[in-house]
């Protein structure tokens, strides 16, 4: 544990197993005070269980939870200075919005509960709704009440369990910005659990990607995206074209040569883990250029599908060996290809990432798109 601040949340070997399966494998993680942290992963990956352990709603099988130097592993939920925004909001239906927001302060005998609650409601722009009952509010408003109810207690850590999952797309985007603004305004540590990779990348300072109870990779959004350490992360965070490749030699200039189905390409040497020969060569769809080619890394194919989405066009380009590569072309005025056109794809050396070919190329691919 290198440097840790007085309010950092620290998980040490945190584990949760149920009767016959392990929901969370031993996990070590330090979340710096004041950061916006995302736990990202598909459903059932253990992210919510981790969150519930931090909240005290689930008892860990092993390991410790520390805030600063205080071990809170064995304290009850009501004894922790940790608050949660629940997935279904869990607003008390028999209390007014105001009473909901004041609830935590009242439990601690705060004399100033009313004023603070009003401030919190103002912060989420619901200052006028204090006298209403939760079921008289829209989903988005309920979500903001739940946020105010947690925020008002100024917890050491604020936990958000898929808080935007029930909102429609437009409202969700709006709330993402709002949440980020509020977090910066109040400066609390937010831990945000989500299965929506776009949401995690938009909001979080750093992201831990979880899969099957394990933490796959930890880092800031750009690092995770540009340099995924596993096929799971590569596929779960955005889309990836994974080309089976074989490193054949060095090409000078800090580059290696590699063979992709009989085509020679150049690869940035720094991106190839030492000693690897058989690799997945990953290229993001927007890094592939459609058209003239750059003379270095070129692949030829035929357009097998094109879908226009306004801001960009997404193509599938059929390679001679039968694989479809995904290409995204910005709608920047350049000529659009049509179905059946023969095209050349190219990318700059250094725009790729390289993974061990022993990994499953389909890991993390979302076969069913859950996300609206």
């Amino acid at each position: 544990m290198a440097q840790h601040g007085p309010g950092d949340l620290e998980l040490i070997g945190l584990t949760k197993s149920f009767d016959d399966f392990t929901a969370v494998e031993p996990m070590d993680l330090t979340i710096p005070q004041g950061s916006f942290f995302a736990l990202l992963g598909p459903s059932g990956c253990g992210k919510t269980t981790t969150l519930r352990m931090v909240a005290g709603l689930e008892q860990p099988t092993a390991g410790q939870i520390l805030i600063g130097d205080t071990d809170i592993t064995n304290t009850r939920p009501h004894q922790r200075n940790v608050n949660t925004v629940f997935q279904s909001y869990a607003l008390f239906p028999h209390m007014s919005v105001m009473d909901n927001v004041q609830f935590g302060l009242r439990r601690r005998g705060d004399k100033d509960a009313k004023r603070k609650a009003q401030e919190a409601l103002d912060l989420v722009e619901l200052g006028h709704a204090g006298r209403k009952k939760p079921n008289q509010l829209s989903g988005g408003m309920q979500q903001r009440v739940a946020l105010a109810r947690a925020l008002v207690n100024r917890p050491d850590v604020l936990l958000l369990d898929e808080p935007l999952g029930a909102l429609d797309l437009k409202l969700r985007r709006q709330m993402q910005i709002e949440l980020k603004r509020i977090q910066q305004e109040v400066g609390l540590t937010f831990i945000h659990v989500t299965h929506d990779q776009e949401e995690a990348m938009t909001m979080a300072d750093s992201i831990a990607v979880m899969n099957a109870g394990r933490m796959e990779q930890l880092g800031d959004p750009a690092a995770l995206y540009e340099n995924p350490s596993s096929t799971f992360v590569a596929n779960f965070l955005g889309q990836s074209n994974l080309l089976a490749a074989h490193v054949t030699g060095t090409a000078g200039d800090g580059r290696l040569t590699a063979d992709v189905h009989g085509h020679e390409v150049l690869v940035d040497a720094g991106r190839v883990p030492a000693g690897l020969r058989d690799v997945w060569l990953g290229v993001r769809p927007e890094k592939l250029a459609l058209g003239e080619g750059n003379g270095v890394n070129e692949l030829k194919g035929t357009v097998s599908d094109a879908s226009f989405s306004g801001v960009a066009t997404q193509y599938l380009v059929r390679m001679p060996w039968g694989m479809d590569l995904t290409v995204v072309q910005q709608n920047d005025g350049s000529a659009r290809a049509r179905l059946g056109d023969a095209v050349t794809l190219s990318w700059d050396p250094g725009h790729e990432f390289v993974l061990d070919s022993a990994q499953d190329e389909d890991a993390g691919v979302e076969h069913v798109v859950v996300d609206g």
């Binding site: 909240a55 005290g56 709603l57 009850r76 939920p77 009501h78 940790v82 608050n83 949660t84 629940f86 279904s88 869990a90 607003l91 008390f92 239906p93 028999h94 609830f103 935590g104 439990r107 601690r108 006298r131 209403k132 009952k133 008289q136 109810r149 947690a150 207690n153």
Partner: protein, 264 residues
């Protein structure tokens, strides 16, 4: 013809409702009767005599008071016991669960005449004398199961995350129970208590097995009066109960809907 067909279901529904309500109407109408002889079964002439002197027949209002007292005590205790059991069943895992369920179910599957007579044998053997105490004990016994069912139905629909949220916001377990769980379960508890009261107030069979000549409840009075010829005042009290209960229900409905509208 097609109009008739389309509304067939409505006609059936209304007919059944009438079947259910006609006796109440008859009771109300005959509370204004002035019967010849002892039996108030055929219409003679209009009179408000029974209404102006409801406690006229000897023992009638005493029996009413006794039934109210027993009903209140029995429903109160049965509600406490039943609510506790319902919370144990709805909120905890424990051994002996199926045994508990069976024990709750059995009184509801046992004919009253069996429960009444078996209690009589117990009290005979233990030397407990019949009367108000024996009746109250019996009423608590058969009301508990119904309260359990009413409250458990409500507890089962409570979202456990609300309790988690309360704990998360710093409420300790007693506070969580008092401020979240209990208020949310209140409608079920109230329904259970009302059911218990009406079961107790209206019980004749079990009561009859455990009553003494000095503990005549209202249903027992009615039964006895029916043998000798029921006084018209019985109809008056039946009608008053009916109208009062109906009024309470309608007013509370009106209030909730108005409060809802005002808050919106």
């Amino acid at each position: 013809m097609s109009w008739l067909r389309r509304h067939l279901l409505l006609f059936a529904a209304v007919a059944v409702l009438l079947y259910m309500l006609i006796p109440n109407v008859v009771v109300a109408v005959f509370s204004f009767n002035d019967p010849v002889g002892r039996y108030n079964y055929t219409w003679t002439e209009f009179s408000t005599r029974a209404w102006t002197n409801p406690c006229g027949p000897q023992g009638l209002c005493d029996s009413l008071g006794l039934s109210l007292r027993i009903g209140l005590i029995a429903s109160l205790i049965a509600t406490v016991f039943g609510t506790m059991i319902a919370f144990a069943l709805g909120r905890y895992r424990f051994r002996a669960r199926s045994g508990t369920n069976l024990l709750i179910f059995m009184p509801m599957a046992t004919p009253e005449v069996v429960m009444g007579s078996s209690l009589l044998t117990l009290f005979l053997m233990m030397g407990v004398s019949s009367g108000g105490l024996a009746i109250t004990i019996a009423h608590i016994m058969f009301c508990v199961s119904f309260v359990v069912v009413a409250v458990k139905a409500r507890v089962a629909t409570l979202d456990p995350r609300l309790e988690e949220a309360a704990a998360d916001l710093g409420a300790n377990p007693p506070q969580t129970f008092l401020r979240i769980t209990l208020p949310l379960a209140a409608p079920g508890i109230l329904a259970g208590a009302l059911l218990a009261f009406s079961l107790s107030f209206d019980d004749y069979i079990i009561t009859n097995f455990n009553a003494s000549p000095s503990s005549i409840t209202f249903p027992m009075y009615v039964w006895g009066a029916a043998q000798r010829g029921a006084p018209v005042q019985v109809n008056v009290i039946g009608t008053v109960m009916f109208i009062a209960a109906l009024a309470i229900v309608l007013v509370s409905q009106l209030l909730t809907s108005r409060r809802r509208r005002a808050a919106a």
